[in-house]
């Protein structure tokens, strides 16, 4: 069976291999022990890490990259200011809008030593997936962009807080504007089947129910990534609605608007919430975008105290991408964490408590959290698209009557 010679070779080979692997294993272990420089000596500040999670790739990457930049900007500014007793290291992670990925990433963040806080997610589903993980690890997470109402709960406070309004909060001013101010009563509703879309659908239905005379005559749910809405729109066209509400994301919204135009439905008002506020919407919808009404929580950064500086700094930092609809939220989320860090130190528990009690004034106005961790800040702006730009309603030609919204009598 076995002659001496080959078996000797195998043995020699195996021996060499195991030796090599042993060295490699040693290296593997070695790098880990070298990784965290502890606070020895005054010259080296203690390093604390803050993690950012968002969709950096995948279908919603546009929504995640800007906030990543603003978040990084805030951290860099804080480090440069020299007022911190420690150095903050910024970690960016990609959830790719995928809850499974998000959960895995969260595991990774939790396992990383010296992570004291995280800020995460534009997608509600991703946040749903990671909240239990962060909570279990005792790491405070400030949500910068996910707007599903169910994310902030009393039992998760103060570990989970949120600086942006929920979809319910967002829909209130929009409904008041289009239904009460403009008097549009008969609505067609299209929403995406995503968590975000569902939450919007429910919020809008609730708003309609509150008002007598208002009604929803059609409801269609589409999957994200669909491209052909003509069958739905043809159906809606027959119903003579006053307005069409879309609760979902940019691309589908833009295609719906341009296909409405194509099917001769230009005279139907389209309304949507912050999920579709992006230059991409106008780029894709083109001419058809004119007259679409949207709402965006908060005021434009440039109108807020400190907003001009923020925009300047952002441009100076050389980011290619625009900071986007949620840039200001991520910026404030970062600053809330940093402020709390400054005051409470690096203990996770103390930090979480501090975040829960904070009253921070920044780009969004003054942010503080209620007992579920939800921001109490409810500033919002109605925009209308005019000549290829999102224009504040109060400054638009539509308000002055110079132009008329679609379907206006």
């Amino acid at each position: 069976m076995f002659k001496g010679k080959p078996i000797g070779k195998i043995a020699a080979g195996l021996g060499a291999l195991i030796f090599l692997l042993g060295i490699l294993a040693g290296c593997g272990g070695g790098t880990k022990s070298q990784e965290a420089p502890k606070q020895e000596g005054g010259s080296q500040k203690k390093v604390v890490k803050i993690a950012f999670i968002g969709p950096l790739t995948g279908p919603n990457a546009t929504e995640g990259v800007g906030p990543r930049n603003t978040f990084e900007l805030a951290v860099n500014q804080a480090n440069k200011s020299g007022k911190l007793p420690f150095e903050i290291k910024f970690l960016a992670y990609d959830d790719a809008s995928n809850p499974g990925t998000a959960a895995s990433v969260a595991q990774k963040i939790v396992a990383e030593p010296d992570v004291v806080a995280a800020s995460g997610h534009w997608n509600t589903a991703c946040a749903e997936a990671t909240i239990p993980i962060f909570k279990a690890a005792g790491i405070p997470m400030v949500i910068w962009g996910a707007i599903g109402p169910s994310l902030t709960k009393e039992e998760n406070f103060p570990y989970i807080t949120r600086v942006c309004p929920t979809s319910v909060q967002e829909n209130i001013p929009l409904a008041a504007f289009v239904m009460d101010q403009l008097g549009r009563k008969k609505w067609a509703l299209i929403s995406s089947t995503s968590v975000y879309g569902k939450a919007n659908t429910e919020a809008w239905q609730a708003e309609v129910k509150k008002r007598s005379g208002a009604e929803i005559v059609s409801l269609d749910e589409i999957t994200d990534g669909s491209t052909d809405f003509r069958p739905i729109l043809s159906k809606i066209k027959k119903l003579n609605v006053d307005g069409l509400y879309y609760g979902g994301n940019i691309m589908e919204a833009a295609l719906i608007r341009s296909q409405m135009n194509e099917l001769g439905m230009k005279d139907i008002l389209m309304a949507g919430i912050s999920g579709i506020v992006s230059p991409k919407f106008i780029e894709v919808a083109g001419q058809a975008a004119e007259g679409v009404v949207v709402t965006q929580p908060g005021k434009e950064p440039k109108k807020m105290p400190g907003g001009k500086e923020f925009i300047e700094e952002y441009q100076k930092a050389g980011y290619k991408e625009p900071y986007g609809a949620y840039g200001a939220y991520a910026y404030d989320a970062a600053n809330i964490i940093i402020t709390a860090l400054k005051e409470a130190g690096t203990d996770r528990k103390a930090l979480a408590d501090k975040i829960g009690k904070i009253a921070y004034t920044g780009l969004l106005g003054t942010t503080s959290f209620d007992k579920t961790g939800q921001t109490t800040n409810s500033l919002s702006t109605i925009y209308v698209i005019q000549d290829g730009k999102f224009v504040d309603w109060d400054e638009s030609k539509y308000k002055t009557g110079e132009r008329k919204l679609p379907g206006a009598k």
């Binding site: 999957t223 990534g225 066209k237």
Partner: protein, 307 residues
Amino acid sequence: MELIISQILNAVMLACTYTLVGIGFSLFFGAMDIVVFCLGDVAIAGAFAIMALSTVMGVYASLSGILPAPISGIIVVFIGACFTAGLVTLMYRAVIVPFEGKNINASLLSTIAAGIVIRELIGLFYPEGRNPHAFPQLLPAGLIGDNVLLSWRNIIIIAITFIMVMLLYWFVNRTKTGLSIQAISQNKEAAIMVGINWHRIIVITFLIGGFLLGIGGFLTASYFNSLRFDMGAMYGLKGFCVAVVGGLGSIYGAIVGGLLIAFVEVFVTAFIPGGTAYSSVAAFLIVVLFILFKPEGILGEKTVEKV
């Protein structure tokens, strides 16, 4: 009534977008007994090429400086379609030739993998490739008269699809090369025995099919007005479904199958309350039923299944 007519029009338009890629599947299956799973991605890559020519690379802009807009549009689309033809031929060399005559599972997987590679490369290397893009409007968008149903673009899409199918029909049935393609698909050995250089014919088939796919990708992107790097996956899958329902290997089958699938999708959306979310489910169910009970498709001939 108007509703039904407009929905029929929607379905016909949707069928147009499915037909060319379905024909691609049938053509390659006929010629090689092979299902090239990455065709959807190839077609979308062609659309990306056309978009790159007209936006990023500015070819369209510089052309329309010298030539009238429609002609420069045609040139750009033609270049894009040629690119697609080259790409699909490259696919043939890279992921089909190595598996010729082996287990079909290998070529099946390799073409699926090739589709992923194409998709991801676009996502990585096209500027902002992972974001959705607005497809440049190379086709006129105006309405015809006051009729809100018909726009120039829709007419042109239908016309181009029709012309492409006619050209293919003429080519396959009236030219020597076309007859050779048919000969190879029916009896490869006999085709070799009458002296057909089958390698050359296969490459020609791939070039022609690739050209059609490029046009198909262009029409689809124009119709939907948008382009995404991962659109190709679903597009290709629908194309395969269309080809199977119509009869894999039959060119006319792809048209019939395209119409059937498109009608099912549109009508489920339009006339079943709450059906919007289930339109794709319905389309795929139809396909499953066809495979189970009429695997030869609507127009395909009943033959012993090629495994």
